[in-house]
Amino acid sequence: MQEIVLNGIDEKVLYEVLDNGLSVYMLVNEKVNNFYMTLSVKYGSIDTEFKCKGDKGFTKVHNGVAHFLEHVNFNEGEGKTAHDYFNKLGSSINAFTTFDFTLYEVFASSEFTKNLNHLLDYVETPYFTKELIEKEKGIICEEVKMGKNNPGQKLYYGMNNALFKKDKRRNLVTGEVKDVSETSVWELEKVYDTFYHPANMYLVITGNFNPYEAIGIIKENQANKKFSKFKMPIRKKVKEPIAVNIEYQEIEANVEIPKVKICYKMPKSIFGDYTQIELSIYLSIILRNNFGATSLLKEDLMEKELIVGLRAGREIFQDVVTIELLVETKYPKEIIPILKEKMNNLLLSKDDLKRRIRCNIAALINDLDDIEFVNTDIVDQLITYGKIEDNMYDLYRNLELDKVNDIIKKIDTTHNSTVVLIPFKEK
């Protein structure tokens, strides 16, 4: 087992990659009662076209298959589900699917060995029958409809559809009702066989437990199972143009006050040599300062009673960086140009930077109390960067004003979309 020392915050992560390829990461907190374990599979909703060595063409599956698989993977045969087992232990379990991965989680305070073994066993042992899959369709369709009741989700996907022409983030993680209804057993089996392999999974454990015992349990568990060789699937690349799909769109929704989202799309290459994590930190600091709680613009617009809320964020994809502004306002026509103007005049002073550095370092320490947060953070880093960043502390401490200004200069606001959720018109 190897150790990653997290600089500056007095913590370490233990990790090992097993012979079958399973990556295990552990961070112990002996002060708490509980432990939290997650098994993440690098297969998400956007991975709908893929091929393995020897395949002639790409296999295409319905949208929502990753999420469907997450639902039915709890089945264990003989009418039992993983819930029955964990319920007897008093543990709480759940799972969720994102664009990029599927995560299965266990939260518990006792019976460490049984919890750990069963998490590995149920995720690694498929049980699909036509009957169970048909039954699940009604449930998932209600989940899709529940999502559509939520204006936040409507705005989110409305924007993805406006911003992207090809990217699969345009589609609901769950798929539409039609996708769900048409999903078949072979698709689920195909995806399971291709992606649900230990070499494509991360097991992350945080909280109060003995990591040396844990690795022993994991190794024994894995040694008792046979896995064929990982097929190293290749996902079909989608070439997303920098031009947006729709520049301006209004969508009716269950809102009283319109919600506006403005999104900018730019090639990652324009920023030059920054690492993904550096770019992510700098952009976050810049946006917070200009649109967050300490921004002058926000205060001014609130005082003039033009807006009720304002937030900003960024996302960094393979080749594309997006910046989004989210505002609630009764005056979209007046506010949109003001925000766009501000995007071309971003500012950050030396004092601002100093303050933000202090906040980020404080958060680094603070977050350690929450074993769920720590775990999620490790998973996010593994999925995004393929490794743990062991030096966040120095990264934060060494942030430079020159780089802030350099990045501000490079932000390109040419390509953008605006989506406005408006109240339903009276019929």
Partner: protein, 420 residues
């Protein structure tokens, strides 16, 4: 963990010393009996006080100060606990050992600075801040409909009995909001300081004698309050239940069932009904409701029962398709009847106990959970965690059946989308 209470005449300080966390938390709370007409102004007040003060005239000034104090946070909120209202101000901050000299005093002083030196001139709150907050609350009230399940709960409880505190909408009412002025809010402010019972809870790995001295120096209020706040709402039982449908712009239909819990004794309220609730419908994916509605009949994605202790109510919620309403009602009744008949195994009861004990253990891993442990002990004589774990273990199947007989249907409510 070391718990101590300091009686400071007009308020009490409760200190909980523990080395469990790297962050610390302080909660200042004011309690009183709930009056519907005061909900909106109370809600506005807690926001106002955390938004600006004499020393920090704008919200941005506070935001900058908080960031300088190692990303601390302060927030104010009002909550209803049965018949009572609680106005809380919470400060979360980093343990001083990671911070500069003098940090503890600076950070502890902040909420008292905000509470005691509000942005008031000529007996009026600062109008700029006032308008920002008023707008925000207006928007919060108006956006209730955006969340289908929240709206369905609010509507169903209002239809059940609009005069019951259980139905009050704690964000506030537009009609009351219109009547609040920068000067009337100053009266609200004085009422809170003078009439409401005040307690301060502080948790962390801190020198508590020093903390208590700091608070005593900063927080000097001089009113003695000596009366009882009554928590439990008496919701009347109905001879014939209501059955109401309403429509809105929704893709999915929402079903809410409201049940009275008729005359539970303390043991039933504190322990038995919680186990009942887990077996029936709150126990995640193995409960009876989940099994019948979701697993066996694919009628929904979400179905869950909730125990509202201080309202004496049990609620069931499910997101369904309205054509399935009768089928759902039948299955829900089947589950409830099985509880009365004792059609559940000892193992199910045992699993429910394990789930409760597990959730208690989880609460012990957060500052807020530990504060609540002592708070509810003080407010409602609810035994502390360890004692509760022991009591839960003693509950028998017979106890659960007795409680099952006291669950009485009051209202069936369906919020449906337009015809599709």
């Amino acid at each position: 963990m070391e718990y101590k209470v300091y009686d400071c005449d007009s308020y009490k300080i409760h200190t909980i010393k523990t080395d469990k966390f790297k962050n610390c938390s302080m909660e200042i709370m004011f309690r009183n009996n709930l009056i519907k007409e005061e909900i909106t102004e109370n809600n506005m007040l807690v926001d106002m006080l955390m938004h600006s003060s004499k020393k920090y005239p704008k919200r941005r000034d506070i935001a900058i100060e908080l960031e300088n104090l190692y990303s601390s946070s302060v927030r104010g909120f009002s909550t209803r606990l049965g018949n009572s209202i609680m106005l809380s101000f919470v400060l979360d901050f980093l343990n001083p050992r990671y911070c500069d000299e003098g940090y503890l005093e600076e950070v502890i002083s902040l909420p008292f600075e905000l509470l005691l030196n509000p942005n008031v001139d000529n007996l009026e709150f600062d109008r700029r801040s006032f308008n920002i907050i008023k707008n925000r609350i207006k928007s919060d009230i108006e956006s209730l409909k955006e969340n289908a399940s929240r709206y369905a709960f609010r509507r169903s409880l209002t239809l059940m009995d609009k005069d019951s505190p259980s139905s009050y909408y704690m964000t506030g009412y537009l009609s009351d909001l219109e009547n609040i002025t920068p000067s009337s809010l100053v009266d609200t402010y004085h009422r809170m300081l003078n009439d409401y019972i005040c307690d301060i809870y502080i948790i962390g790995n801190l020198d508590m004698d020093k903390v208590v001295q700091l608070i005593k120096d900063k927080f000097k209020i001089k009113t003695i309050k000596d009366y009882k706040v009554n928590l439990y709402v008496d919701n009347k039982i109905r001879k014939k239940n209501l059955d109401i449908c309403e429509t809105g712009n929704y893709e999915q239909d929402s079903l809410v069932m409201i049940y009275n819990l008729d005359n539970l004794n303390k043991k039933e309220r504190d322990y038995v009904i919680q186990l009942y609730n887990i077996i029936l419908g709150s126990g995640g994916l193995t409960s009876k409701l989940y099994k019948y509605l979701r697993e066996e009949n694919s009628l929904c994605y979400i179905v869950s029962s909730m125990y509202q202790k201080y309202d004496g109510l049990l609620l069931i919620y499910s997101g369904i398709d309205k054509k399935d309403k009768n089928k759902c009602l039948k299955l829900i009744n089947k589950a409830l009847q099985e509880m009365i008949n004792g059609d559940f195994t000892d193992e199910e009861l045992d699993n429910a106990k394990k789930a409760v004990i597990s959730s208690i253990k989880m609460s012990e891993d957060t500052n807020g959970g530990i504060i609540n442990n002592y708070l509810f002990n003080e407010l409602d004589n609810l035994p502390l965690y360890d004692e509760r774990v022991k009591e839960f273990k003693k509950i028998s199947k017979k106890d659960v059946i007795e409680v099952a007989k006291k669950v009485k249907l009051n209202t069936i409510y369906l919020l449906s989308g337009e015809d599709k």
